[in-house]
Amino acid sequence: MRRFAALIETLDGTNKTTKKVAALTQYFKKAPKVDALWAVALLSHRRPSRPVTTTLMRTWAAELTKLPEWLFEESYHIVGDLAETIALLVQKEGTASPPSLKDCIEEIIALKPKTEEEKKQYILHQWKTLSHLERFVFNKILTGGFRIGVSQKLMTRALSKAVHVDETILAHRLMGQWSPQTTTFDQLLLHPNPEDQISQPYPFFLAYPVEEASFFSKENVEDWHIEHKWDGMRAQLILRKGKHFLWSRGEELITDKFPELNVLTDQLPSGTVIDGELIPFKDNCIGNFQDLQKRMGRKTVTQKLQKDIPIVLMAYDLLELEGQDLRSQPLRKRQQLLDRLLKEYPTAPIMLSEVYQFTDWEQVRREREKASEKRSEGLMIKHKEAPYGVGRKKGIWWKWKSDPKSIDAVLTYAMRGHGRRTNLYTDYTFALWNEGELVTFAKAYSGLTDVEIKKLDQFVKQNTLDRFGPVRQVNPELVFEIAFEGIAPSSRHKSGIAVRFPRISRWRHDKKIEQANSLEDLKQLLQ
């Protein structure tokens, strides 16, 4: 654990990618393999399930540090990270040798069924004996969410350097559900057994937003496939050995959430992997994203739910056919095979995402304008000759989203941020006018520059009307243009409307709050 904590410190201490990769590579080479495997698991967001609630941790920490609970809570809001707050407040520098990473995590796993008193005893003991940094890492493992500025891609690159296995092959081996409790470093990364891996998905290939200024003048439209960008949930469907598996982009197995796809095992041949988008589809119409969320939100998928919100897979890529990995084939070829395959099985709950071929970019632009009519988010632009890549890579797949809708709203509340935004007011709530009052309609966190964030932080601190824990109500004085993707009626929101991906597009210094939009204006956008 000491070695892992030192790694975290090094990773934290630099913002240079090369240094991060070097530190990780060094760690993977030097650490015992059992520890290295757990490190890979943690850095790819596979953590043991939480044995205690954070509420208990907070209470115990306040007790141990002899601080009033309110002061502990305030400290937490200001630090913005529970693991770090506890690490800072328990002012002990243990010198005893800490357990290995593997032992520590296994102890945490073993904690789960124990009594609260036993849990408390164990955790307090660790807090008191670990050093500051180890205590922080220990808390991070307990609470999860190991965000330390290391992407999975970066980790895979370092791992590749350490074990001398190609990065894309490793990325694939790291996909899906595995646990250091049931596999070993060698088994998972060096000598995987294909028999164990029938459920294993391929790494998803991701698109970049198109660079409008240069792309269209540089590229020949005939080299590109144009498709609509479906507004659903990205998923990979795997059919192998008579079973099927459905993976989300977050590498969650979501097979059980979509029982209507169970019939596919009879309808499509084994050894097939399809990349596509899950979308609600009823009475020959594509539904909206909120419907899909309703389905994802339910624990059990009832017959009624399936009937109310039926789901289909909108397929756009074929990654495996007859057990052969097709990813190195050009898109053109993969698309033909997908087209042929789906034509053979017309009754399957799978639709083919239509591919358009245009002769000039103006036609593409006009197709993009049909996005809301076709219920898409815009267009995808994919190179015909390109292989299916790993992760986000520039130049092969582009997304060209529809222009967002926007509205001018008033800043009413602000909350302190987390992580990099610790101790700055960066999480904002915006309101619109309704019968002379300001009604909350959205929260937004992104879109401002660092300089604007600092200015706004100052404003919040100097214009606080009221405080509610980490939240401050501010003088309604500033107007911002809020952009968003989708809009739908909602009974859960006070305003009666839910917007998707709200973000700040501009600080409207030129507008007074009286000039902000009204809820009525927003409703107009519902159409």
Partner: protein, 333 residues
């Protein structure tokens, strides 16, 4: 009537008709130390500790300023005043005011740690203690500064070995000199940014510092390789910084005690080194004064005052215009 009151111009002693660290121009101002949020322009007459005289003249131009020694008492209309070491930066003083047996102390800014350049903090007995609380939260606790200075020298030596220039940033009055004092000149040469050089020059008559050399347009990247450059934080990412060639960036501040703040700064190395008292420092200072009343002026004022109230003091908060809550005002110096 309280001996010191809070007015729109600053902390005011009506009996003596003087202000303490006023934020508007007044007739007579007692100044705790040279930072720009405490020593402001526009007053007719300034009284401060000796060391601050050249600092004020450097910062505010031609001002009328009188210097006093630590603990030297002087009377203004029956009120006895004196300056006492605050340990914050060279010259920094707590201001003691006594009238008819009642004693008030205004701390300005202070720290209880030793920094090697400022006269160490001395507790002063009083009835009412007006204290800063910049880091008045229990999450702030400073490590032994000798350890931090060692880390800085190790970082420099490692950069030296890679022939990379070390750019070490800290604010121009106090922090940079504290850093300079503890640099190991056997590792290499120490260069300075103009702002840093000027302020260090002002303090050289009082303190023995290692030799420094000002960076000019004629300074080549080549000569900087492996050496160290001291500069204010504002140079981060500037054109000036780009001219230094290959650099490893280091920043010393108390504000980067949190990971998030460190990441936001985006420097290669963050050294947690503060010229303000940490939580324990504040509490021990308050205890040592034997005071009954505490007024917190800047920083995490409300939380700190609430804690003090729960622990037997009569504490309250007063709004002032001293830099608080945010590091940016300080680093803008």
């Amino acid at each position: 009537m309280p001996l010191l009151e809070f007015t729109s111009k600053g902390i005011y002693c009506k009996q003596a008709d003087v202000y303490l660290d006023p934020w508007r121009g007044v007739d007579k101002a007692l100044i705790s130390h040279g930072h720009s949020d405490h020593a402001r322009w526009g007053s007719k007459r300034y009284i401060t500790h000796h060391t601050n005289v050249p600092i004020l003249q450097h910062r505010l131009g031609k001002v009328v300023v009188t210097g006093k020694k630590y603990k030297e008492t002087f009377r203004i209309n029956g009120v006895q005043f004196s300056f006492h070491p605050a340990g914050h930066v060279p010259g920094s003083s707590q201001i003691r005011a006594e009238y008819k047996g009642e004693v008030w102390v205004f701390t300005g800014d202070y720290k209880t740690q030793l920094d090697g350049i400022s006269t160490p903090y001395e507790p002063v007995h009083c009835h009412t203690f007006i204290t800063e609380s910049t880091f008045g939260l229990p999450v702030f606790r400073w490590e032994d500064p000798t350890k931090i200075h060692q880390q800085i020298n190790q970082w420099w030596a490692a950069n030296q070995a890679e022939q990379t220039c070390s750019l070490l940033m800290g604010y121009s009055l106090g922090k940079v000199q504290r850093l300079l004092k503890h640099l190991d000149p056997s590792i290499g040469k120490i260069y300075t940014h103009g702002a840093t050089e000027q302020m260090t020059e002002v303090l050289r008559p009082f303190i023995d510092f290692p030799k420094t050399e000002l960076i000019t347009p004629a300074t080549s990247k080549k000569v900087l390789e492996g050496n160290l450059v001291l500069a204010p934080p504002a140079v981060m990412g500037s054109a000036w910084m780009k001219k230094l060639g290959r650099v490893s960036t280091g920043y010393a501040s108390g504000w980067i005690a949190f990971r998030g703040a460190r990441r936001r700064r985006a420097v290669d190395r963050a050294f947690v080194l503060s010229d303000h008292a940490d939580w324990e420092g504040l509490l021990s200072a308050i205890k040592a004064t034997g005071c009954e009343n505490v007024i917190t002026t800047h920083g995490y004022t409300e939380l700190f005052a609430q804690y003090l109230n729960e622990h037997g003091w009569n504490a309250r908060t007063q709004k002032t215009q001293y830099a608080s809550e945010t590091e940016e005002i300080l680093s803008a110096e």
